[in-house]
Symmetry: C2
Subunit: 334 residues, 2 copies
């Protein structure tokens, strides 16, 4: 019989200690974590830090190109990176349903370990709760992270006329991938989540001295949510050329089939960038050298035409407002 | 009809923004949180920090003397305090079941706000997920925290022969309170959770120069888990006088009725202290001045009699080993 997670694994006693040692310490191994105190004791190189949290409740737990574990690392890492911070330390909390398969949990933990190598971040503290059957659907993971801010002044408040907008990858892949798996849609080719840690490409931009004004990973609400939030926060108009927005043909297919817009689909390793005028080609060239951002595209400019609004120029030369997403497109996408 | 939390409140779009502004910002109000970036940007006074996380899955959500919100603040604050750290900043992540009552959520949020005033900690970043009905039982809350380490060298590895052991309050109140509520046991008097933030009393000890060797809040697994972990980690024997351990008569009653040991019951505002010999009376005097630690008691000493073991002297002068808790006493106690 397959080994399963029991309530006693979350009780704080001997069984919890053995789960923590055999599974979490084995894979997340580092000298800070191994001290096993109530909190990790850390010495930061800089006192300017970024601090963020995210809980992951995605269903299904395993999907094409990743699983909840990979997502839980990349998602929180990216939140730090989007603030110009070098990801340093994570905490990790597992909320597990009684009866969850030990092997599945280990597979998720291994994905977390592998994803951490992409940015060098370390898990230094954790928590394990096991909830009786029916209290939680399989597994939720919370990760919180701290990073050292190495580049100041990235903010949604920073956009001014003339700035240029780029998107680092095709949009909608994660949303379409989860939706296709849930709806059992057969796709001709392999549609994968874009889930990826973005520290390496962003580090390269900052080291090259690119003047980044704003940076945001386009997760829930997708590209549309980010652009609308920026337009509103900075009181500017963002004019986007629709034909420049990279969308995979499989994503277009899923969207047409089910009546969605790819710009509202969640992404998990795709960021929107706002850079100063004249920096866009250099930004493009740098990002093209990284696998996770090689499909980067310059998609628009910041103007004062309709402050607070995002305007989309369609391939047929007409224009329309790209409205902020409303309602709940896809519950449990991340 | 009562207002309810909808899936769209967790979608990342307009409805999420309005929930965040109307509920979370309203009560957690501070200038860092209000910036609404991907991560909070913080300047620490010290680069030596403590970092911890805890997810709260307690059931019932409301109980005598508190609720899941109060618990989520005090629990993470205490994990920082137990490392000699001044609690500074928290992140907070809500995982809410679709249909959860808005008013109940607000009541929980208000408890969180009130509990934060006890230590001065601030919530600076958050996350909201809404899960379709059945995906989560009501509400889970994760809080992660960072604090500035103001007193170095507190550790479970630090116990040496001659050190003195104290417990700051009656033990078992939280566990017995939750259990009584779940089992619908009618108690003659009001048994309340001990849930409390312990920064103020610990700050007073540190300011008075008390040489604290180890400090641990006795949560899951209770007093028994802490003492056994210390004995094992420091390879010492801890000799405890059972008659000195404060236990409320209602807790004794619940334990007798249901066949539990109060030393294994979870606490949420009760800590175990190990101080150097000669410091115990001063420690006692200081802690007696705080409401949350006024029932403090000196309960034992560290020796080399049975290294790795906890020995209990009973009121009948016999001795027995206090074994570490096994299995799952009470699922979802915190």
């Amino acid at each position: 019989m397959s080994r399963k997670i029991l309530l006693s694994h979350g009780g704080g006693g001997e069984e919890t200690q053995s789960l923590v040692k055999e599974l979490f310490f084995k894979h997340f191994d580092n000298e800070i974590l191994l001290k096993m105190e109530d909190a990790a004791s850390l010495v930061m190189e800089s006192c300017k830090i970024a601090f963020t949290t995210d809980s992951f409740t995605v269903t299904p737990l395993f999907f094409n190109g990743g699983n909840i574990g990979k997502l839980a690392i990349a998602g929180t890492v990216n939140d730090l990176v989007m603030m110009g911070a070098k990801p340093k330390y994570l905490t990790c909390s597992f909320m597990i349903e009684e009866g969850f398969l030990y092997d599945s949990l280990e597979q998720i933990v291994i994905s977390m370990r592998d994803e951490m190598t992409k940015s060098g971040v370390k898990i230094v503290a954790g928590d394990t709760k096991v909830v009786p059957k029916g209290g939680v659907d399989g597994l939720f993971i919370n990760t919180s992270g701290i990073g050292e801010i190495v580049y100041d002044g990235i903010s949604a408040h920073n956009l001014v006329e003339g700035n240029v907008i780029l998107v680092s990858n095709e949009v909608g892949n994660h949303g379409a991938c989860i939706l296709a798996k849930r709806e059992d849609i057969e796709l001709e080719s392999e549609l994968k989540t874009d889930c990826a840690s973005l520290w390496k490409p962003v580090e390269a931009l900052l080291q090259a001295g690119i003047k980044v004004r704003a940076l945001r990973d386009a997760t829930r609400g997708g590209l549309s949510a980010v652009l609308n939030e920026w337009a509103e926060t900075s009181k500017v108009c963002i004019e986007v050329d629709e034909i420049k927005i990279p969308v995979a043909s499989e994503v277009k297919g899923v969207c047409e089939l089910l009546g969605f817009e790819p710009y509202e689909f969640a992404n998990e390793g795709t960021m929107v960038l706002c850079v100063e005028a004249g920096e866009e080609e250099k930004t493009l060239a740098i990002l093209q050298t990284f696998e996770e951002t090689q499909k980067v595209s310059i998609i628009g400019v910041v103007s004062q035409k309709y402050p607070g609004k995002v305007v989309l120029s369609t391939p047929w030369k007409s224009k329309r407002f790209l409205e902020p997403p409303k309602g709940e497109l896809l519950p449990r996408i991340c």
